[in-house]
Symmetry: C2
Subunit: 327 residues, 2 copies
Amino acid sequence: MSLWALGIDLGGTSIKAAVVGEDTGLLSSTNVPTAKGSGPGGIVRQLSTIVADLYRSALVTLDPADFAGVGLGAPGAVDPEKGLLSYPPNLPGWSVYPLRDELQQAVRRELLFDVPVSIDNDANAAAYGEAVYGAGRTFRDFLMVTLGTGVGGGIILNRKLYRGPQGTAGEIGFMIIDFEGPGLHAGIRGTIESMIGKTRIVELATRMIESSPTGSLAGRLCGNDYSRLSPRHLEQAAREGDEVALVLWERVGEILGVGLANVTALMDIRKFVIGGGISAVGHFIFDPALATLRQSTLPPMHDGLEIVPALLGNKAGMYGAAALCFG
Amino acid sequence: MSLWALGIDLGGTSIKAAVVGEDTGLLSSTNVPTAKGSGPGGIVRQLSTIVADLYRSALVTLDPADFAGVGLGAPGAVDPEKGLLSYPPNLPGWSVYPLRDELQQAVRRELLFDVPVSIDNDANAAAYGEAVYGAGRTFRDFLMVTLGTGVGGGIILNRKLYRGPQGTAGEIGFMIIDFEGPGLHAGIRGTIESMIGKTRIVELATRMIESSPTGSLAGRLCGNDYSRLSPRHLEQAAREGDEVALVLWERVGEILGVGLANVTALMDIRKFVIGGGISAVGHFIFDPALATLRQSTLPPMHDGLEIVPALLGNKAGMYGAAALCFG
């Protein structure tokens, strides 16, 4: 027998859900727009319908006796023990909501039996997904960093999620590396996210392009309309050797590397898995990040330092949410 | 019955050793200059003599059946599982040395029986001492910071030492908070230690006094000979309301607070125990540190933030080393 579960990634834009086999990985998946306007109750109904549909379709090939449950990754502060989701960003109208128990009851109404439901923070779910099925499979301990609109993180220690005493651990985006610097995010000065969150990267690139005597391919790629400039333009420009784009990504990598050095100093973690949309830029970020990480840590800590790209892309959350049911 | 053990704090200047009762605390102690010049072998002989003497004197009141062993805190990188001490600073002539096993054999030659020996890093031992007998007794999870010549740290998670995957965790002194700033320590720019290690505090104070139009009581306390200026002068000046000294300690507290905020963001640790010689300055550092810690973390993480002074002073290492034997 081989266990299987449903893994759900609840986002502000879409709900991604999959049937995941413990040994076989992702078997089928679905992706629907989040009914944001319907509030917690509406979203729970939406989730329970998705669960019931996926469950019934899975029974064509899978044994109900091997069903391990439903795992859910959600944005915002999650208390996995109490099953609470608090103030999810991008989901208006929520405060503190007993998401796990409400979902469990709604699923029982659909399927007429009790299904075990586990919930966790979406960054934690993604880190756990990479740990069990992705780039972190061979690492006992690592930090997963998600570079996207925000900069998020999840910590794996001894193959388990490290959530911290109150469940809010892993916030690498709020690590301060330039405490008197110009960057400000959520009222905090000099954080990693204030410097390399997506909009900050584009702002920095715009300034660099405008002050470059020769301009930049990235500028031409967006028709010199910087309101349209995106990380994709900057990535493509770097691949074609554009000097401004190369310097930009080196700077982003350097800032990331300083943050990772702090993780190594404090927690002795030496493996890093980098995901999120921005991570597609690859070695243009990873190489300077690793160089900075080495320069910014003591030599006895250089053994085993490694930065690798995530493998599961935007499926990591579904994988990890399902894997919560196999733990 | 109540267990007892010997706790040793091996330093570059002195060896402090104590008989510690699990329930009764420190029963007797000794303090001898470290025979630095005699190399690892000589120090092991010195340690085994101290152990044998303390053990024999303890038997006047304590039962040998309740003896739990010898715990040792040592400077530098310690591998507690393998019992190795690597390149201790301030102890010339050591490279990688099997300190635990050598000490165990030397003690067997003195006492004619096998004594369990545990070793750990001195900062970890101090943190564990505060956890079991000191300011951390009521905290499940906390970071101990030692403010002295250097800035060290030890992490307690779930009432146990968190040593990290390779045993080097807790190096809060190497946390970078000003990555392009002027401070440099051990080749790394902008670390906490590069900004508030003891010599850096005195350097900063000297600059502040020299550029102050009215001077500072701290300057007068050292006879305006800044080569003699010490944190004690700056502490006394602050207690008497000296403006320069107050601003200095506020700055030190602010820098500490930024470092602690990074620990809260990454590990979700919200309790901090501050020891080491500089910590005697007390609220002049702690108050701005706590204010900065709150300003530099998200509101959902403000619950339970606390900074408290260590309670065991320079005895924390002996307490913690002994407590390693009760674990």
